[in-house]
C-alpha cells in the first residue's frame, strides 16, 4: 500500500493515537521515512498533542463562574416542566395516532406505534425516563397515584422533581381533536398571535428538533384577559409530518406557570393539517 501526502496527513492523528491497523500503519510509516514534509507535519501534531492545558487564573475563573452560574441558576421553565411536557407529548401523540387510525390509515399502524416509541425517546431527554413514565402511568390511571417510576430509579433529585410534577400534573387532561372540537371550543389557531404569525403557520416553518423560549401573547386562550405564554418546547418527531409544541402560561398577576398546553400538528398525505390540543393544570 502506498500513500500520498494527503492520505498520510489524515492518518497522523490516528497513528499517534495508536488507532491504525498494521497495514495502514506500516504504509504511513514507510511514507514518513522518506517524506520530510509529512515528517514535519507529524512533529507538529506531536507538539500540539503534547501541549499542556491552559488553566484559568483565579480571577478568570471567578469571572467565568459569575457570568455562567447565574444564567444556569434559573433553570428554564421548560426544563422544570419537562416531565409534564413529556407526558403531554405522549398523550398528544396518542391522540394524533388515534385520529389517524380512526380515519382508516391502517397501513400506518406500525409506523405510528414506532412513533409513539420514538416519542418516548424524546421524553427521555427530560430529566429521566422514569419520571416521564410515571406521569404517563398517572395519566392513564386517571388518578392521583404517582406510580412507582420516581422511586424505581432512586435517581435522586431529578426523579424527585419528576415525581412532584407527576403528582400535581395532568390528572385530568383534556384532549380535543380538531377540527370540530377545535371550533367548538373557540380555540382558533389563527386567533393566537405568535410573533405576528398564527401558530399553525409558525409551526410549518419550524425546523426539526429545535428548542426555543420566547414570550408570546394571546388575547383568547382560557382567559378573558391577556396571558403570557412561554413556548417551552417543540419538537418535530422522526417523521416530518408531526410536530408538537408545548407551552406554559400563567395569568399576568401570578408568578409561576400554572397551566400547560400542547399543540400537535399532524400533516396527512393530502396536505391537511390536523391540530390537536391538550392542556392541563400544573
Amino acid at each position: 500500500m502506498t500513500m500520498d501526502h494527503a492520505q498520510v496527513s489524515e492518518l497522523l492523528g490516528p497513528l499517534l493515537a495508536g488507532r491504525l491497523d498494521a497495514t495502514r500503519r506500516s504504509a504511513v510509516e514507510d511514507h514518513l521515512a522518506r517524506c520530510t514534509e509529512c515528517s514535519a507535519e507529524l512533529r507538529a501534531v506531536k507538539a500540539l498533542v503534547a501541549l499542556e492545558i491552559v488553566e484559568l487564573t483565579p480571577d478568570e475563573r471567578a469571572e467565568l463562574r459569575a457570568a455562567v452560574l447565574p444564567a444556569a441558576r434559573g433553570t428554564p421553565r421548560w426544563a422544570r416542566l419537562m416531565p409534564a411536557f413529556a407526558a403531554a407529548a405522549v398523550i398528544a401523540l396518542g391522540v394524533v395516532a388515534y385520529s389517524a387510525l380512526d380515519v382508516g390509515q391502517s397501513a400506518d399502524r406500525p409506523a405510528l406505534d414506532e412513533q409513539a416509541g420514538a416519542d418516548h425517546e424524546t421524553a427521555d431527554a427530560a430529566p429521566n425516563r422514569a419520571g416521564a413514565e410515571s406521569i404517563e402511568d398517572t395519566t392513564s390511571q386517571a388518578a392521583g397515584d404517582e406510580g412507582p417510576g420516581g422511586a424505581a430509579t432512586g435517581g435522586g433529585r431529578a426523579a424527585d422533581v419528576a415525581g412532584t410534577a407527576a403528582e400535581g400534573a395532568p390528572l385530568s387532561v383534556e384532549a380535543r381533536l380538531a377540527p370540530a372540537t377545535f371550533a367548538a371550543t373557540a380555540l382558533d389557531p389563527a386567533a393566537i398571535e405568535l410573533g405576528g404569525r398564527d401558530l399553525d403557520s409558525f409551526a410549518r416553518t419550524l425546523p426539526r428538533a429545535w428548542q426555543v423560549q420566547l414570550e408570546v401573547c394571546t388575547r383568547r386562550l382560557f382567559a378573558t384577559q391577556p396571558v403570557t405564554l412561554t413556548l417551552g418546547f417543540a419538537s418535530a418527531f422522526p417523521r416530518d409530518d408531526l410536530l408538537v409544541a408545548g407551552f406554559t402560561w400563567s395569568e399576568a398577576t401570578s408568578g409561576a406557570p400554572t397551566n400547560y398546553a400542547f399543540w400537535g400538528w399532524w400533516r396527512g398525505d393530502c396536505n391537511t393539517v390536523s391540530p390537536v390540543f391538550v392542556h392541563g393544570t400544573l
Binding site: E41, A50, L51, V54, L64, L69, A79, G131, V161
Partner: protein
C-alpha cells in the same frame, strides 16, 4: 459527593432543576474548554468570553444532548462553535495571505524572533482559518467532516488547511529544517 457523579448523571440532575449539578459540570470542564478556546483564539480575554458563551449555550441546549457522544465531546463542539462565532463576529486576527509563509520570508529580525516561538506562540502566528482547523482537529479531536460543517468550508479545504497549518507550525517551531512552501502548496 457530587464531584464523583458521572457527567451524564450531572446532566440529568441539571435538567431536573438542580443548578449545583451544573456548577459541578462547569468546574469539571472549564479549564479544558478555556484551553481549547485559548488555542483557537490566541488570547485569554477572548478565550474567557468564548468559554462563558460555551457554557451558557451548553446549558440552554442541554436538552438536545443525546448521549450518543461523551458529554465532554459535545461540550467541546459547543466550545469550538463559540470560538468560531466569535472570530466570525469580530475578526481579531487579520487572516494572513495564504501565499505568504511566515518562515519562508527569511532573515529579518522579526522572522528570526518568530522562529524562536514555542508551540503556543507558533499557533498564534497561523492564519486564523489554519489555526482553527488545526486546533479543532488535533486538539479537539473533531473529525474533518464536522469541521467542514462547523466552519462552512469544503471538506477538501479543511484537510488542506489542517495539513498546511501543521507544516507551518512545524516550520515555525523548527527553523533549522528548511521547508519549501511552494512545494507544500502543491500537495
Amino acid at each position: 459527593m457530587e464531584g464523583e457523579l458521572s457527567d451524564d448523571e450531572l446532566v440529568a440532575r441539571t435538567l431536573g432543576g438542580d443548578s449545583s449539578a451544573f456548577n459541578t459540570l462547569v468546574a469539571r470542564h472549564e479549564d479544558k474548554i478555556f484551553s481549547l478556546a485559548f488555542r483557537m483564539l490566541g488570547n485569554r480575554a477572548d478565550a474567557l468570553d468564548a468559554t462563558q458563551e460555551a457554557f451558557i449555550s451548553a446549558f440552554k441546549r442541554l436538552r438536545s444532548f443525546r448521549r450518543d457522544s461523551a458529554f465532554s465531546t459535545w461540550l467541546y463542539r459547543i466550545g469550538v462553535n463559540a470560538c468560531h462565532d466569535m472570530t466570525r463576529r469580530a475578526r481579531r486576527y487579520v487572516p494572513i495571505d495564504e501565499s505568504h509563509d511566515v518562515v519562508s520570508r527569511g532573515d529579518t529580525p522579526d522572522e528570526a524572533a518568530i522562529r524562536r516561538l514555542d508551540v503556543r506562540n507558533a499557533l498564534a502566528t497561523l492564519p486564523e482559518e489554519y489555526r482553527e482547523a488545526v486546533v479543532m482537529h488535533d486538539l479537539g479531536g473533531i473529525p474533518y467532516e464536522e469541521i467542514a460543517r462547523l466552519t462552512g468550508a469544503q471538506l477538501g479545504t479543511v484537510k488542506s488547511r489542517i495539513s498546511r497549518g501543521r507544516k507551518r507550525l512545524a516550520a515555525a517551531l523548527e527553523p533549522s529544517r528548511e521547508l519549501a512552501p511552494s512545494k507544500e502548496d502543491r500537495t
